[in-house]
Amino acid sequence: MSDASGASEEVELVQLLTPEGERLEHPEYSFSGDDDQIKGFYRDMVLTRRIDAEATALQRQGELGLWASCLGQEAAQVGSGRALGKQDFVFPTYREHGVALCLGVDPLHLLGLFRGIDLGGWDSQKYRFHLYTILIGAQTLHATGYAMAVERDGLVGTGDPDRDMAVIGYFGDGASSEGDVNEAFIFASSYNAPIVFFCQNNQWAISEPIERQSRIPLYRRASGFGFPGVRVDGNDVLAVYAATTAALERARTGNGPTLIEAYTYRMGAHTTSDDPTKYRLADELEHWRLKDPIGRVRAYLTRSGSGEEAFFADVETEASDLAAALRAGCLALPDPRILDLFDYVYAEQTPYLIEQKERYAEYVASFEDVSQDAGLRQAQRDGQPQPAFPGGVH
């Protein structure tokens, strides 16, 4: 513990694929899949990056209010997302676009949230992927409670691979300072809950570097809570897959929580509203660009001979098609109707809200019968184009 810095790279981290695309052995973790599986990871990562780029472009063109980019974190997300068993359940932050892809969530749903169409438009039970949580760290407690429920359902340690399940809760280096994350660690440890805490340490919480959050490497925090922690190269999809697979299995078999610190880097801004040039050096970005998660897999597949040019070209085509469909779908998303929203507040609607809804509906309807002027005012309120000749068409 000579180095007090949480950002230090002198700490041992699990790596199975070097930035140059060389496979490595590790005494504890190994990747036993074949090259076809690695090609699958490659495809997922390229698609994730393409979705991310398209969403960023859509935001720049005014079609999204905001986007939180996952650029540079594709290996951490795809490696962990692909390690999930078919029963496992995910609690994401708002940046897990690659995990969403792995679980089959239509990326258009992710855009809906950032376009202001809804607050989470997918069926979380169907995809086993809970809604994005915007507030930092709050979802780690929900994940822990869900895992406590899984244990009560008798779905831990039965030995039946069709029954046993685990929960994975995502969070970031900034969230590790939140009380909720620390309380989640305590509850999970105290009840031996079947959960994996997956921390993507991307080095930055908006403008604050990891040193502001932690004076020790984050994975070491786990020992203080009484469960194992491991730091993996978060840009190495094979290491992330291996470590997550092991941690999920540990949870499913009733051996309790694990903290995985995926040591990665946020290549983009915190969100499209952020300007990282104000607080970090370009050198740092260059340093991490050499560790790109996708480049190293491509280098490996090329060297091993499994990745023919046609494969890479096909993935590029698929990514372009996906981006085009995403763009078209985004522009076609229907705006929500505020009158519908009144019905979502409660499972059992209250008379008071019904009354508010009805009054507003009457107010809106009142504009349909009165003068053109009033109609024009309403059109302005709705942001609709105004008729060129207000006295004319009707």
């Binding site: 809804d118 607050l119 989470g120 438009g121 069926d123 979380s124 039970q125 809970h130 809604l131 949580t133 507030l135 709050a138 407690l141 929900h142 994940a143 822990t144 409670g145 869900y146 895992a147 406590m148 429920a149 899984v150 009560r152 359902d153 009380g179 909720d180 309380e183 989640a184 305590i186 509850f187 105290s190 929203l341 019905d343 979502y344 507040v345 409660y346 499972a347 059992e348 209250t350 008379p351 008071y352 809200l353």
Partner: protein, 324 residues
């Protein structure tokens, strides 16, 4: 028909809920072996096990946040927050997560979660043990807020709250925990979100809830000597409010005094005054008047009897109302 205290009535009702539905789980600090600091959960862990009646780590946000996670998997958790003043570490989870989950998911994710909070003063406690935080929760849409004033309501309302698919803040007036009354375990209770006239009268309407209902009933008895016939309404449900009962009463009496322990400024009385004015303007003979705790923090206990509304302050406000 059995005579029991409010604490025992809650205990019996929680037992019945645990028996009726295997998805009901009780969680909180000291709720297991100890049976809660007010003994509301006494004996339940012994009979239903540590998986159903769970001693939680000492972390309120964790209690509520993990309960929400359990609710997302179909459980019906009943959390106990040990004292009113301890709820604030959980306030973030309650306001940003519990209250909004159904809305955020466009109605796909109900949160059948009950958060029990012993509240209010009058027990000679130290700081943070005597507060009335109900207005914070009533202001938070997505939550429902109810409070019982007597053992029979406690018995039925907690079971109805557990059966509800919406998150409910269940406020228990701690200074009434040990008052006894008859509970008929076979009756059909009124709906959870309904107010009730507990004493009919013709001159002035007193609107109260929780610990102040008894204070108002005592005041109404005393007012007979002055020749005044007071009607007392027990709101029972603070969000949503059951204004039909209040409006009908005010249209009859033309005068209304609201009574609560919580501070005056933006308390429930303010919302009641606004709603009554909107609905009953032409029936009112006097402005809506409010009796409440002062806008100081809750005081040291040696002066809490002066801080808390009592029979005399209620009657003084009744006299002011009648003077218009």
């Amino acid at each position: 028909m059995t005579t029991m205290t409010m604490a025992k009535a809650l205990n019996a009702a929680l037992r019945r809920a645990l028996e009726a539905d295997p998805k009901v789980v009780i969680a909180g600090q000291d709720v297991g072996k100890l049976g809660g600091v007010f003994r509301v959960t006494e004996g339940l862990q012994k009979d239903f096990g540590e998986h159903r009646v769970v001693d939680s780590p000492l972390a309120e946000s964790g209690i509520v946040g993990t309960a929400l996670g359990m609710a997302l998997r179909g459980y019906r958790p009943v959390c106990e927050i040990q004292f009113d003043g301890f709820v604030f570490p959980a306030f973030d989870q309650i306001v940003t997560q519990v209250a909004k989950m159904h809305f955020r998911s466009s109605g796909r994710l109900p949160v059948p979660l009950v958060i029990r909070i012993p509240y209010g003063g009058g027990i000679g406690a130290v700081e943070h043990h005597s507060e009335s935080p109900e207005a914070y929760f009533c202001h938070t849409t997505g939550l429902k807020v109810v409070t019982c004033s007597n053992p029979a309501d406690a018995y039925w309302m907690i079971q109805q709250a557990i059966a509800s698919d919406d998150p409910i803040i269940f406020l228990e007036p701690k200074r009434r925990y040990h008052e006894r009354a008859e509970v008929d375990e076979r009756e059909t209770p009124p709906p959870l979100h309904s107010a009730r006239i507990v004493r009919p009268g013709t001159d002035v309407t007193l609107v109260a809830y929780g610990p102040m209902v008894k204070t108002c009933l005592d005041a109404a008895e005393a007012a007979i000597q002055d020749g005044h016939d007071l009607e007392v309404i027990d709101l029972r449900t603070l969000s949503p409010l059951d204004m039909a009962v209040v409006d009908e009463s005010v249209q009859k009496t033309g005068r209304v005094v609201t009574v609560h322990e919580a501070q005056l400024n933006l308390g429930l009385g303010a919302e009641l005054a606004a709603r009554i004015t909107e609905q009953c303007f032409y029936s009112l003979e006097a402005p809506v008047l409010r009796v409440a705790g002062f806008d100081t923090p809750y005081p040291p206990s040696r002066v809490e009897e002066e801080y808390l509304p009592d029979l005399d302050r209620v009657l003084d406000m009744v006299d002011r109302s009648l003077a218009y």
